[in-house]
């Protein structure tokens, strides 16, 4: 009885498997970045309701996880599109090609600003990239001066970093290292501040790894608190603690202006217009990548790309801007719009 039952279960499993594999897919599969997820899902929903195609299924796997799934191969078992909050790496493109995914179409959809915010009740501060580096890097030059010996970050108060800043302890809540937001923050803010020291910038030519360790390393002594991937939680904690700062995406600032405000960086406030004109220094591009071989095999991919790159969606006044996406400048939009129509594959990276 036992054996027969187990056999029956396995047969049932195999039948289901065969059915699943044989069934052609009529729904677009999308994976990738959790930063692009809120935008891609809005497009997918609008596309699904406004057309006869099924609403694409979107998984939030993170940029790196998405690339891995995307490049695993061709066929209905593999996703058709991956979202990314950074550009595809050349190693990832190679991996794709090794697995038979030869033609990948790259479409940049807009920008996302990363803001450093504090509670509305707290004083307004003017930060610079250099401030952020000195406050949050693992190692800083002694005395915060050019030419100083590198020492473990001794700055405990914001006023240690710069007398113009308030005399409160440095306490910054931000994303963990697995997050794309953290990568971008390290690269744009911390490294950006690091580069303002010519002595540190010079290390890049001598020893790239050492330069990265110095200029992208975040301190681990408790001043930077990894608050998990949930940005809503960071906003809540900021509202309760006026001395703390938080690092998160622009759309969360936009939705919570009654609780938190963004600090200006290098004299530029984190406003929609400033990020769009690229004047705000901490912003990053967002992308999605399409498997060209899947277009016209899985129904609706061409139309989905069309919906995403329509003026209604990614235009200056499109519905994606209501969700906090910063639109591309007109020339870039024209270029990637062409890509989307002609499905021009990436040559190399």
């Amino acid at each position: 009885m036992h054996n027969r039952l187990v056999a029956a279960v396995f047969v049932a499993g195999a039948v289901v498997a065969a059915a699943g594999a044989a069934q052609a897919r009529d729904q677009i599969n999308i994976v990738g970045s959790s930063t692009v997820y809120p935008f891609a899902t809005v497009v997918a929903e609008t596309f699904g309701r406004g057309s006869d195609f099924k609403t694409p299924k979107i998984e939030s796997t993170g940029s790196g996880g998405g690339m891995k799934l995307f490049c695993a191969g061709l066929g209905t078992d593999h996703p058709d599109i991956t979202n990314a909050s950074r550009r595809m790496k050349s190693s990832e493109l190679e991996k794709c090609r090794e697995n038979g995914v030869m033609d990948v179409v790259e479409i940049k959809i807009g920008y996302d600003g990363i803001v450093v915010a504090n509670a509305n009740a707290a004083p307004e501060v003017q930060l610079t990239l250099r401030h952020l580096f000195l406050a949050l890097a693992k190692q800083v030059p002694e005395g915060n001066q050019e030419g100083g010996q590198l020492v473990d970050n001794p700055n405990q108060m914001w006023s240690d970093v710069d007398p113009s800043l308030p005399n409160v302890a440095i306490e910054v809540l931000g994303p963990p290292p697995t997050s794309g937001t953290r990568d971008a923050f390290n690269e744009l803010a911390i490294e950006g501040g690091c580069k303002t020291f010519p002595g540190l910038k010079a290390i890049k030519k001598e020893d790239k790894n050492r330069y990265k360790a110095i200029c992208r390393g975040i301190r681990e002594d408790g001043a930077y608190i990894e608050a998990g991937e949930n940005d809503n939680l960071i906003v809540q904690k900021l509202a309760e603690n006026p001395n703390a700062f938080g690092v998160f995406g622009f759309s969360f600032l936009d939705q919570n202006r009654d609780a938190v405000k963004g600090a200006s960086i290098d004299g530029v406030a984190p406003e929609f217009e400033n990020i769009a004109t690229r004047a705000y220094p901490v912003s990053r591009p967002l992308y999605f990548y399409v498997k060209k071989a899947h277009v016209d095999v899985i129904p609706g991919i061409r139309e989905y790309i069309g919906a995403f790159t329509s003026d209604d969606a990614w235009g200056d006044e499109g519905y994606l801007t209501d969700r906090g996406l910063i639109p591309l400048p007109t020339d870039e939009r024209a270029q990637f719009g062409d890509n989307a129509v002609n499905l021009t594959p990436l040559e190399s990276l």
């Binding site: 187990v6 289901v16 059915a19 099924k54 939030s60 809503n232």
Partner: protein, 422 residues
């Protein structure tokens, strides 16, 4: 004589002291127990209160009454956007016709209203050419303000709703065209990126389908394994090894089962990603040890005299087990299965690997359709920037807790109902 009397008195005093100490120790121990329980109950109350106070508003939704002119020509042309724009302009005649003003007006109602109008016409084509009063969902900022979650006293730039919109809401209120109504779409729709339209039905159906697969696979295998190990297996090194392994499996972190499922069910068997069948199989792997262990305990608790008496009257071993031991052990096995199912219902980590933490709008119609599950839906909503998702998250948690309560209640009921005294 005096010395013995003295020692009796002193030992009596010592005994009394000891007795007092022991009584004090007992009282102290009881106090610790009461403190521990009240701490646990306190945390539970705080947790439930915070969830309920945040979530109960998720079950109602602000709706706005529009007077819609279903113009036959516009319907023919599919210009539902124009139909909506016209009715909004009629409702707020003071608004200008600039693009920004039109956008602000459109922002009063849900972004899905255009589709709702189309669906209304598709459901009842006779409506074309008539003028109807239609209740539609308000947009998220309007809804949040109407529910008192946005402070109107703040300066305009610091709140997500403009002064003009506040004036319009006041006008609507005066005309009786805005009201809180039961949130039907929450229980009748799948996920949406508009918090006012987001529903939990897709996740409920996904969870139900996955749990059905789990039950069908793990319950028979688990009970049979338990029966075999308890009643038939020889006691030797191999069965002991199997036993130890089963007990160990019960403590393996669930993400490991997810990785196993990804490697075996998706990559080798080629089961569809994000589908209840694959998720259910992974959950059944996770539930098996729970069912086996509790079923074995239940079978062991049946006095051996039951089986012995049956066999003494000529029943075979199989007959004795299936006709006499298993029915008596049934309450215990069922309880184990239901608690295993309840565990599986609350599980997200292994399903992450199976692709079930996903944005799925359509309510799944079968075991191979893409779907998500209740806890995954909670996770996705908790991380969404729109304000309205905070209460939707809490409301989804209430629904999840409700299901868990029902399942655990069912376990208690079944145990009571089928429990036999001997």
């Amino acid at each position: 004589m005096t010395s013995t009397a003295l020692s009796t008195i002193s030992s009596q005093a010592a005994a009394n002291r000891l007795l007092l100490r022991r009584k004090r120790a007992e009282r102290r121990f009881q106090l610790y127990g009461i403190l521990a329980i009240s701490a646990a109950v306190g945390f539970l109350i705080v947790f439930l209160a915070s969830i309920v106070s945040r979530g109960y508003m998720g079950f109602v939704q602000t709706e706005v009454q529009l007077t819609v002119n279903f113009d036959a020509e516009l319907i023919e042309a599919g210009s539902y956007r124009t139909i909506l724009r016209t009715s909004l302009a009629e409702l707020f005649p003071d608004a200008g016709s600039s693009r920004a003003e039109r956008r602000a007006l459109a922002g009063m109602v849900s972004a899905g209203t255009v589709f709702v109008l189309r669906e209304t016409v598709e459901a009842d084509p006779a409506i074309a050419g008539t003028v109807q009063d239609v209740w539609v969902l308000a947009s998220d900022p309007v809804d949040q303000f109407y529910k008192g979650r946005i402070d109107a006293a703040l300066p305009e730039g610091e709140r997500p709703i403009s002064d003009a919109s506040l004036a319009r809401i006041a006008a609507l209120e005066e005309a009786g065209r805005i009201a809180l109504r039961f949130n039907r779409s929450f229980f009748s729709r799948g996920d949406s990126r508009n918090p006012e339209e987001a529903g939990i039905l897709g996740a409920i159906v996904g969870s139900a389908l996955a749990l059905l697969v789990t039950l069908v696979v793990s319950f028979p295998i688990g009970v049979m394994t338990a029966v075999y190990l308890e009643a038939f297996a020889p006691r030797n090194r191999i069965t002991r090894l199997i036993e130890i392994n089963i007990n160990n499996l019960a403590a393996v972190p669930s993400i490991v089962f997810g990785l196993l499922g990804l490697a075996v069910f998706l990559n080798v068997f080629g089961l569809p990603r994000s589908a209840p069948v694959s998720g259910g199989l992974v959950l059944s792997l996770m539930t098996l040890p729970t069912i086996i262990i509790s079923s074995r305990a239940a079978i062991r608790a049946v006095p051996p005299s039951f089986a012995e008496a049956a066999m003494g009257l000529g029943a075979s071993r199989v007959q004795a087990i299936f006709h006499h031991v298993l029915p008596v052990a049934a309450p215990g096995t069922l309880t184990g299965a239901i608690i295993g199912m309840a565990q599986a219902l609350g599980e997200t980590a292994p399903l992450l690997m199976m692709g079930m933490v996903a944005f799925v709008v359509e309510v799944p119609g079968g075991f191979t359709d893409p779907s998500t599950v209740l806890p995954a839906q909670v996770y996705l909503w908790a991380d969404s920037p729109e304000r309205g998702f905070a209460e939707k998250t809490a409301a989804a948690i209430i629904v999840l807790l409700g299901f868990l309560l029902v399942m655990n209640g069912l376990a208690v009921y079944l145990r009571r109902k089928f429990e036999k005294q001997w």
